[in-house]
């Protein structure tokens, strides 16, 4: 039985970040802060055409320029593919504006830029495709041979008897939703330093979420074993599910270093940032939902079309296939059909925005749910509670919920936001909306941790989990401190170098607290057992009777007999036959017969209520308040949980309300943090938090994820806007233009649209 939070010494309390001092004083190092001896600066020469044939590349003048140390083209990496359809440097065809054709390395940035301008490339333009509609046309040019219909990926999935479930449904609704491209806008631009000057050994510094994936991917593609790729992961200035694998410039820096025998830094400029971003591409959902008159959901049939751009980033884009899991994740249903089509265009390659594109799917699903509720004369909260999953349930796609606070979250957030007093009773152009979601705490995966306790009782915790700002290192230190009966400040985190780090998949899929946290706990329990063996001899009591608290070990009920940790370790280590305290931990998911992506051990659940005001003259939406309730299992560090909620509400409001890459013929027309409209300080809403704790049986101390769960619940904002207007907005982001369009559409519909009367 888990003990109550108040009985813990360390966890469950607000803990400022361990690296706060470094980050507030300018001491923390990011990749661009590093200058290595002899380091060169790289520059990439990119295609100016959206599609074309390369006729000729002339690098002679660049090579002759003083200060240039390496020039590379496809000849330097023949046959090396970074994805199934993508060469490391373009050979004969370019497929988007920004496609990498050549690169230079020189003694400084200015020389590199000058050399880049001296490389002459002749192209023959080819007809390019900029929309999934055009790419789907009969007779459209084929972007990649072997994909004659321009489908990069096709995936169909069906579970349950879909046709039968629809035939028994008493009400069926179809909705179509469109999402425009968006960008993660990392504060820290893409930057890399590669040192490949020693044959067969590549050292690489870059902001990232998964050193292991960088090792595996770069090693595999460059033909060296992954252990020979040493990744330094210092600080990462924003990741948001976009920095899991390596990007093109990382490989290019490695090749330039190999050729010049010197370390090479490449840093993307603001324009390049919007070329290499691999954010969310244009996508569309067509959703058919069958329900009973009492609101019980019977079936969902969804088609998902996605503009993947010029190349299919296979290493991470498989996730697009698996999004269907979200449909029955929090709502019971009998059957589901899913059709995913990723379509090639000549836009920059896309991956997904913050939240892996789950928010977009949820926006479509939950807006439909609101519309269905209104068609049936139900309250949106009622229909959600009616279908909501509970603890102990196994859903349609075989996800099992060992803990689940969904209903509690819905009840809490609606109570605090005074939903009943407000819904349907607000003045015109003021709106309220609800959104619910769940999120997996990793997949079926694994992490390792090592702990070394020094003679002075200080603890070094070796982990491979990056901290991109979410505070994972602080959380790991808290778990270690709680387990060993010491303080968070007694724990030093050793991370950021794959040569020293134990195995870890990385900080993505919301797995850090759950998997690495469990591994840290196992490692510390191992060290604790070693300490207990020594202390039990000294104190003459059984190891099981020992209490570890405040850096001391004492027999249960006899704190007066306490030995300090320092005494126990030091005396044993320095005696004949004594030992050194080192704990090791590995956490692996228990064996299951299902595929790894079919379920995970623990899910967070949440509900949010948003309140907005719409200016009917300008179409500007003001987000006034968001009331959040999130089931995180157990909040190891409530301050970090709040920080995650803040950031995700903010990210969600951006994706829903303002953020859009405005594209014209494959070019982003607004490539800056000003023209690409992100929320700023004035748009910050009031946020009310309720942390719901359900103590998950698998999580470390009952903890689950909070890394993306709150983000997928922010669709409450969209529902609030539709509620304020009295008409749904079905194209995102909901810019003022689209709000005004919806107001116009509502007027034109004159009540013919069934939604009108329902708001």
């Amino acid at each position: 039985m888990p003990i109550k939070a108040k009985e813990y010494g360390v966890i469950g309390k607000r803990q400022p970040k361990k690296d706060g001092l470094l980050k507030t004083t300018g001491r923390s190092q990011f990749t661009d802060d590093i200058i290595l001896p002899g380091m060169l600066y790289g520059k990439i020469i990119r295609s100016p055409l959206a599609r074309g044939k390369i006729i000729k590349i002339d690098t002679k003048r660049a090579e002759r320029l003083a200060g240039v140390k390496a020039v590379i083209t496809q000849k330097d990496c023949p046959g090396i593919m970074t994805d199934l359809d993508r060469q490391l440097l373009c050979n004969d065809t370019v497929n988007f504006v920004g496609d990498e054709v050549a690169a230079v390395a020189a003694i400084d940035d200015d020389t590199a830029a000058e050399a880049a301008a001296l490389i002459k490339i002749e192209y023959k333009p080819l007809e390019a495709l900029f929309s999934i509609e055009k790419a789907n046309d009969k007779g459209a040019p084929v972007i990649h041979s072997g994909h004659e219909n321009n489908y990069a990926d096709e995936f169909d999935y069906e579970i349950g008897n879909v046709d039968e479930a629809f035939s028994v449904s008493e009400y069926v609704r179809v909705g179509e939703y469109a999402f425009n491209p968006n960008h993660n806008c990392y504060a820290e631009h893409h930057v890399v330093i590669a040192d490949y000057s020693i044959p067969g050994k590549l050292s690489i510094w870059m902001p990232n979420q998964s050193p292991l994936f960088i090792q595996k991917s770069m090693g595999g593609i460059l033909g060296i074993s992954e252990g020979n790729v040493r990744v330094f992961n210092l600080n990462t200035g924003g990741a948001f599910s976009g920095r899991i694998g390596p990007r093109k410039h990382d490989f290019i820096a490695a090749l330039l270093s190999k050729k010049s025998l010197r370390p090479v830094k490449i840093r993307c400029t603001a324009d390049e940032e919007f070329i290499v971003y691999s954010g969310g591409g244009y996508s569309r959902y067509i959703i058919k939902t069958g329900v009973m008159k009492d609101g019980t959901i019977k079936a969902t049939d969804a088609t998902y079309l996605f503009d993947c751009g010029a190349y299919w980033i296979s290493g991470v884009n498989f996730l697009h296939r698996l999004k269907y899991h979200l449909f029955p994740q929090i709502y019971h249903m009998n059957a589901l059909r899913w059709k995913e089509r990723a379509i090639y265009t000549n836009n920059p390659p896309n991956m997904y925005p913050h939240g892996a594109g789950f928010l977009q799917l949820k926006l479509a699903q939950e807006t439909e749910l609101d519309l269905i509720a209104q068609d049936l004369g139900m309250d949106p909260v009622e229909i959600r509670l009616k279908n909501a999953v509970s603890k102990g349930d196994t859903n349609l796609t075989r996800a099992h919920y060992a803990s689940c606070g969904l209903k509690e979250c819905i009840q809490k957030t609606t109570k605090i936001s005074l939903w009943k007093k407000k819904y349907g009773k607000l003045p015109p152009y003021k709106g309220i909306g609800i959104g619910c979601g769940a999120m997996n705490s990793g997949g079926y995966d694994r992490s390792a941790a090592l702990v070394k306790i020094g003679e002075d009782g200080r603890c070094s915790l070796f982990i491979g989990l990056p901290d991109m700002g979410q505070g994972s290192h602080t959380t790991m230190a808290m778990i270690a401190a709680e387990t060993l009966g010491i303080a968070t400040e007694d724990v030093d985190i050793v991370a950021g170098d794959t040569d020293a780090a134990p195995f870890d998949i990385g900080a993505f899929a919301q797995r850090g607290t759950f998997f690495t946290g469990n591994a840290v706990k196992v490692a510390c329990l191992d060290a604790k057992k070693q300490l207990a063996a020594v202390a039990s001899k000294k104190l003459g009591v059984k190891p099981s009777m020992l209490i570890f608290r405040d850096r001391k070990i004492f027999p249960k009920g006899k704190p007066g007999k306490a030995l300090t940790l320092k005494d126990v370790i030091s005396s044993d280590m320095n005696s004949m036959g004594g030992s050194c305290i080192m704990g090791r931990g590995f956490y692996n998911s228990p064996a299951k017969t299902m595929e790894p992506w079919e379920s995970t051990l623990a899910y967070s659940f949440g509900a949010q209520v948003a309140e907005v005001e719409v200016d009917q003259e300008t179409g500007i939406v003001t987000l006034i308040r968001v009331t959040v309730a999130h089931d995180v299992g157990f909040a190891i560090n409530p301050m970090a949980v709040e920080g995650q909620i803040d950031g995700q509400v903010f990210s969600g409001m951006g994706q829903i309300m303002t953020e859009e890459c405005i594209m014209e013929r494959g070019v982003v027309l607004n490539p800056s943090f000003l023209d690409y409209r992100l929320p700023r300080t004035f748009e910050v809403p009031e946020i009310d938090y309720s942390i719901v704790e359900t103590i998950d049986p698998y999580g470390p101390f009952g903890a689950k994820e909070v890394g993306e769960g709150p983000l997928v619940c922010t669709m409450a904002i969209a529902n609030a806007v539709s509620n304020a207007i009295g008409y749904p907005v079905k194209e995102y982001p909901i810019t003022p233009e689209r709000v005004l369009q919806a107001i116009q559409n509502k007027k034109k519909a004159k009540g013919n649209e069934p939604l009108d009367r329902l708001f």
């Binding site: 706060g20 004083t25 200058i35 820290e188 924003g238 948001f240 803040d646 943090f673």
Partner: protein
């Protein structure tokens, strides 16, 4: 052709040879190796390069180094006193206003310029001052709170 200039940064004078087109952020980072001010958008849209010059928060990516001679420049590395951290640094740590930390030095410098001039800002004034500082992680909620709390601590200390 490089030009010799003398920069006064954090109370120290530095003689550096710079190309006339080099920006202050480049010289601070590459020549003086003060890497707290970050090089990010390089077009004045993110505020990560913010430093203080003669009491004003400025964007060092839009300021040429040669223009800075004769001015007093303060960077994030220069606000820690002999008694420890600046109240803003403490407040940012204690209030959870630091996440990835990339934009943090710029935000703190902007906030310092605000509080030096207006020790009692209301929330609108704080938001106004920080509106040019980009932050993707915190949603600005705890950064605004941290500035408010630092101002309060300073006032109580006076």
């Amino acid at each position: 052709m490089k030009k010799m200039i003398v920069l006064n940064v954090n109370g120290e004078t530095h003689e550096v040879a710079v190309n006339p087109w080099k920006t202050l952020v480049d010289v601070l980072r590459n020549d003086l190796r003060l890497t707290g001010a970050k090089r990010a958008c390089e077009m004045g849209t993110c505020g990560a390069c913010t430093v203080i010059m003669d009491g004003q928060a400025i964007l060092s990516c839009l300021t040429l180094a040669v223009e800075c001679e004769g001015h007093l420049i303060t960077t994030i590395e220069g606000i820690e006193g002999p008694d420890g951290l600046h109240s803003l640094q403490k407040s940012f740590i204690e209030n959870g206003a630091v996440q990835c930390g990339f934009c943090t030095p710029g935000i703190i410098m902007t906030a310092k310029a605000l509080l030096d001039e207006n020790p009692n800002p209301d929330d609108i004034e704080i938001k106004d001052a920080l509106s040019g500082n980009y932050c993707r992680c915190t949603g600005h909620i705890k950064t605004i709170e941290a500035v408010r709390m630092a101002a309060q601590t300073d006032r109580e200390g006076d």
